[in-house]
Symmetry: C2
């Protein structure tokens, strides 16, 4: 598979799988069917991490379903090292939650063990070239899960009977300061009003939000999208 005079470096790979049979199978597959270089293998996440520090590979193939320290935390740790190592998650399950979590913590690809060997090689190739690879079926599953979580969030947040809607503008300003952990005295200074006025506003806020104290008001505000009102932030 070598391609003449290309300068492209052979991607160096570390394979991690607690099952030794699988491990050597994958290693052989890669060495025979592709141009990549398996520089090391590991049967546990902790060993894998020291090997990664030592060899600095471009790619890590990580089995997610391991006992002891699980693969997801391992991936998270690898990402935290920030060595530019790109990790591909490998597993038998297409559980959307698993896919979501893997991608969330920084996996650059996600492949099922049942998939054809050609697809594995293709995925490694894509990821080695800086792309992120998810097979179409898994991608669909991911997005369904992704949208479902946001839908639930949107429902709980932007209800039209959100009690925050009943607050006046001044009350919103006061509540905004409260959600920053500022005392009544501080609020009074910031808004150039007396402390008793602040107390009046606060009491009205309590009644409207049906809570009994400052902490509960702040919690209500945070749980019901109060911050999203003023800031146009579309953050996750």
């Amino acid at each position: 598979m070598r391609r003449g005079l290309e300068f492209k470096k052979k991607a160096r790979i570390i394979v991690v799988d607690d099952n030794y049979e699988h491990l050597s199978g994958i290693k052989e597959l890669i060495e025979i069917e592709s141009d990549f270089d398996v520089v090391a293998t590991a049967t546990s996440a902790s060993v894998a991490i020291s090997l990664i520090k030592k060899y600095r590979p471009e790619i890590v193939l990580m089995d997610i379903n391991m006992p002891e320290k699980d693969g997801l935390t391992a991936i998270a740790e690898i990402e935290k090292l920030d060595l530019g190592v790109r990790t591909i998650a490998l597993t038998g399950y297409d559980d959307p939650d698993l896919i979501f979590r893997a991608m969330k913590i920084g996996a650059k690809g996600y492949i099922l063990k049942t998939m054809a060997s050609a697809q594995l090689i293709y995925a490694i190739d894509e990821v080695a070239n800086g792309k992120i690879y998810l097979p179409a079926t898994l991608s669909s599953r991911f997005f369904e899960y992704f949208q479902k979580s946001f839908k639930e969030e949107a429902q709980t947040v932007s209800d039209e009977d959100n009690l925050l809607n009943y607050l006046t503008q001044r009350e919103e300003e006061v509540l905004d300061l409260l959600t920053q952990g500022i005392t009544y005295k501080g609020v009074a200074q910031k808004l150039f009003i007396s402390e008793t006025t602040v107390k009046t506003h606060v009491n009205n806020i309590f009644q409207k939000l049906q809570v009994n104290d400052r902490t509960q008001a702040v919690l209500y505000a945070l749980n019901n999208g109060f911050l999203n009102r003023r800031k146009v932030k579309i953050a996750i």
Copy 2:
């Protein structure tokens, strides 16, 4: 393109684009090259929504770059109607933030206007069959953006000098109850200890978190991933 005796219903489509040229172009394209049925078109989001309510199509092709009411809010509204209508976003820009927001609010597909007509038909077909369709390039862009946002979040949250790490187990339990808006008396009852003990714990918490009151402690906890410790919740 009709396929003999299949029972599959022709998907009914509404196309929305403020540019009339584009609109009729897309409409013709769909009618000539595919089996789908364009039941209506609209040049504004608000008109589109009433048409959707009237025709109940399976698919909506929505141009995102419209003046007045923009396409994203339109998609959000359509999703909110919960009519089972599946929306595909259509735009000239592959801005990752745009893609991310579109998918977040529930778009079932995202296509660039520059893409080949065959790809448009393919996308509609996929979405009509209940799948979610993102072309590979856009998918890559989406995931990069997705991971970047989580990476930033992870950095601010899971620092090793997170003051929450200095809390004892009992202090964590107390703080947990405080983050639910419970009073000292309530905490005392829940933990079967005296109120003065609660106060002792709380004072220790304040010192460790370097804050002055309950609200600030709760805010610190929420902003620094306190909830993610006990609950394995991977919520967004």
